[in-house]
Symmetry: C2
Subunit: 605 residues, 2 copies
């Protein structure tokens, strides 16, 4: 596998040209420090760390995996040193408040950092990634003492965190949670129960681990309204901040997984572990959902990372490997055969990866700006602003999480495919990308859950279609003037049609769902994927428009870059977007052919 | 993972109802022994072996893998005993001539046997599967002495075989083969070179292994016209058939792979190994291509097997696991949550697997009948009949290999998806199906190669579109009368439209390719997948028609089966077939957006 190279030119195109991050940061309270030169320095420093320290551990981490021995977990060689370097650089608290040990920069920069780190080595990035979940929960719902005690060392990266939600009997359906929390006289709780699939539940990177745990109080109502949220530290913390006793929360086993083997996935046993309530009793699930959007966008990053990493691998191989002659005639006569990249179908594969990686990244960076506004509202205590932006983010989040992870997995598989049989051999590293990417459509809500969240909740229930109307209004606004530009006319017209079709589909499904409620569940996957292709079309139009504008302005500098961007947009519209039509057609069918057959007739003896 | 159950009702529906195997066999010379009760007994016996002996070794085989030690390969526990049982049952020679130790039954029965064996345990099935390749090559191109010496023990299963084609520098492009064969005074040859990716190259299942090897004679022309075919036994064979000396052909290493870990994939070193020419000098590649269609159909079986195995796993889990409530209202009030199968999106996933497995199997069984006619011509020495049927098979082969392996992989991934996070954990066995299925789109010609073979060779070059015209003529013939039947009218009309569209697309691409040759390579993937969805539509129409006919005939026996078949056909036409439109739209685009960008502009610093 080739070394990972952070695609800085792509990132700058998005940040400085398409999305104008400098202007965006200038208008943000937390953006005052994020001047262009600071941002540039951060990107370069982070890229250096990711390329030189973190990425080289990707393949060896998979080979070694995490080791489990008598309750202790050992991470692969080099992980501790890499984590220490990460902490020393202050990367963990990049976009968390200065008062709790962070650097107070916008969350969008934090997401861009996560993208680089996750593309370099996704399993490694999960350790600090899970800590972010714990940090955000305590920041939002913890009291001041909890913030001082737990949030500061987490933000500094000295301690790590986890999110303990899933139990053997339930993942999606958290109303089934059984773990109990029994109140003690001193105001603390004793937690008992078993959690599974706990990423970073135990490891050797930090001296303490702070678990955020969903559990039930003794008198709690049944179902989702009876779940509370607790802090359970691996070591209790003394008043002076030093570590106290080992708390009876322990790792019972490591799961044996298809991939992300360097990330510890633990069965966690709570045997009367001391815990402290965060937020109000029985409001635990609501608290969890506060940061659901950013957690899911964090997972969407894995889609883009998989696509990018697999693209870099496949591109290098397509230049190096030779096979057959191009259909349009020999290209490299002096060689025994032409390079793979001369073959049309190999180019189709490479370009599919390219437009997924670049389009997906652009959607993420755009969503990250919305997250900045959301956080700005939150930190200012302006809940109306917070909620308005959280809603906007809430619409695009399942699209990003659902579609970008599906497309990232496709792209990872294409990476193997370009390698032919060699892609199946571990040493080339391409199959690892597929195995690692495969989790992304499962955790943080499966693709099906994203589809239901998008269509059932965000579009129909919460906004009666308004979310689509708002998003498509932006599409009209951007695409309409571009119709006059010959180079962009075709794509602009397509985006205009998509905007109309997306609304029309939403109305049609809403009407059908009134008669046949199950249509929402039978259509949601197609609606989700359709939405993803439409959103990608919109962002590719924006990128193409910026590239065309730059070319218009003239100058040979970067002209090749902009011309390639326009050709990539053509490829997206011609070769990937047509899939959206298939989804549009499928989603409008009745639920009948899905729902009518009794389950016992799905197979006959 | 649930135990594998051979879907005998499905098989009987295809063999006895849709495709009328009894009549087919009655008209075949080799079919005289294949009376309905013999066929029934064979299916039941083979099912028993597969379910009780072979399938239980699937997961443990993956966990243990093959072990390599000082040139020797040890297969996982139980593989030898299972192989012995397979041999004792006479299964290896089921459809090979009686005079060489076989049972002389039609090749279609051999394919159905391979389907059961491969679905039970694909890596295990590769050992006898590779032997089939060697057997077919010797049967077709070997002289009588070679047949007596090598073919008989291979057919009896006492020995195993391999196909040694790939070398480190070339897989698809066999013109680059470097292995040399030096003539000796006694008429034999000494082979020197290295072959990679040799399935079953070394193992402990049989006392001898017969390698079929592509190599170059000293005076051979360059490229594909200078390659000859050799038999190289692991142990040379004495005149009396007893084993002689250990030949210097040895396994240098086992490849570490993503999956099929119980199948040994060897680097084979030929260090002056004794070999014997098969067929004429420099005609080796032509000889290899004789059985290319059956080898590729053998690989297409893996697609159906992956789909079936993953479907059985997902279906069982969807009945057992509970999560949330159905959108249309609570279904199991007494339970804490509804079973997964009550959710529309879960049904969408299950039915996608179901129509892939059942439709793919039907296409295979139909192709198998063509293979019967081809073999009948071959064995009778009637080369015109042989070639006519080989051509028909040649058209459908890349469609089966290309599309059914792609769809089988999709179905395997869906199997994981239904399991949610648990799908990612090894013990459930679903991720193994994905890892094992992943090779199927790579070996025996990648999907891209199948696309080029279909569009470039079979459709445009060899038949100027006639292959499509012939296939679609059958579609018209079958669909036209069905338009009158209310229950089938909609699907029959769709098939009529597809037949017209498929021809129209072929003509359009042929015209475009005259101006822009590279269109064949940029369109071939979409043409392949379109063809797959069209062929599946046709076979689903046939199955639906038979089911409707049976229901019409009345009687409650199997009525549920036929009703389910009709609902599954509805699902295929409504939810999967629309993808064909996306492929139709993409394939007609110019090559421009793929071919115009110089490779050095695919990434910028």
């Amino acid at each position: 596998m080739p070394a990972y190279k952070v695609p800085q030119r792509e990132m700058r195109f998005l940040m400085n040209e398409v999305l104008d991050y400098p202007a965006h940061y200038a208008g943000l309270a937390q953006g005052s420090e994020a001047t262009p030169d600071v941002v540039e320095a951060i990107v370069q420093e982070c890229a250096k760390l990711c390329e030189e320290v973190v990425a080289p551990l990707y393949q060896s981490g998979d080979e070694q995996g995490c080791q489990f021995n008598a309750g202790e977990v050992t991470t692969p060689q080099g992980f501790r040193e890499a984590y220490d370097a990460f902490v020393a650089g202050g990367w963990q608290g990049l976009s968390h408040p200065v008062e709790y040990g962070g650097q107070g920069l916008p969350i969008s920069l934090g997401l861009i950092k996560q993208e680089m780190l996750g593309t370099a080595n996704w399993p490694f990035s999960m350790y600090p990634g899970l800590s972010l979940g714990a940090m955000n929960t305590i920041l939002m719902h913890g009291d001041e003492a909890q913030k001082q005690t737990y949030l500061v060392p987490l933000t500094e990266g000295r301690w790590a965190g986890t999110m303990c939600l899933t139990e053997p009997q339930c993942g999606t359906d958290l109303g089934q949670v059984k773990t109990t929390a029994t109140p003690q006289d001193d105001g603390s709780y004793r937690l008992n129960g078993t959690k599974i699939f706990i990423s970073s539940g135990e490891h050797d990177l930090t001296e303490n681990i702070i678990h955020i745990v969903l559990a039930r109080l003794p008198d709690a109502p049944k179902g989702t309204r009876g779940i509370s949220l607790f802090i359970v530290p691996k070591f209790t913390v003394n008043a002076d901040g030093s570590l106290g006793e080992r708390n009876p929360v322990s790792c019972g086993a490591l799961e044996k997984k298809m991939g992300i083997k360097a990330s510890s996935t633990c069965v966690m046993n709570f045997d009367g572990a001391e815990g402290y309530l965060i937020g109000e009793p029985n409001k635990g699930l609501e608290c969890m959902f506060t940061f659901m959007n950013s957690a899911r966008i964090g997972t969407a990053i894995q889609g883009v990372g998989s696509a990018e990493r697999a693209y870099q691998g496949a591109l290098a191989y397509a230049k190096e490997r030779r096979s057959m002659r191009a259909l349009s005639g020999t290209k490299e006569r002096e060689q025994i055969a032409d390079s793979l990249h001369h073959h049309g179908d190999v180019r189709r594969m490479l370009l599919t990866q390219k437009v997924i990686a670049e389009g997906g990244r652009a959607l993420l960076y755009e969503a990250a700006q919305k997250a900045d506004f959301m956080i700005e509202g939150l930190l200012a205590g302006d809940m109306r602003t917070y909620e308005a932006w959280d809603d906007k983010l809430g619409f695009i989040t399942p699209i990003l999480k659902g579609c970008l992870t599906e497309l990232g997995l496709e792209s990872a598989n294409i990476g193997m495919q370009v390698f032919g049989g060699h892609g199946y051999i571990r040493e080339h590293g391409m199959e690892q990308i597929v195995r690692d990417a495969r989790i992304s459509t499962l955790y943080e809500g499966t693709t099906g859950i994203q589809g239901l969240d998008l269509l059932g909740r965000k579009v129909l229930l919460l906004t009666q279609g308004k979310a689509v109307r708002q998003y498509t209004r932006d599409m009209l606004k951007v695409a309409l003037p571009l119709v006059k530009q010959p180079r962009l006319r075709r794509h602009a017209l397509t985006v205009l049609k998509l905007a109309a079709q997306w609304n029309w589909l939403t109305v049609r499904i809403a009407l059908k769902a009134r008669k046949e409620r199950e249509v929402v569940s039978t259509a949601c996957h197609d609606f989700l994927m359709y939405s993803g292709y439409a959103a990608l079309a919109f962002i590719w139009l924006k990128m193409a428009a910026k590239a065309a504008e730059r070319l218009e302005q003239g100058g040979e500098q970067s002209a090749d870059f902009y011309r390639t961007k326009l050709a990539s947009a053509d490829f997206y519209f011609e070769r990937l977007l047509p899939r959206g039509k298939a989804h549009a057609q499928s989603m409008l069918k009745n639920a009948q052919s899905l729902m009518s057959t009794p389950i016992e007739h799905f197979a006959f003896d």
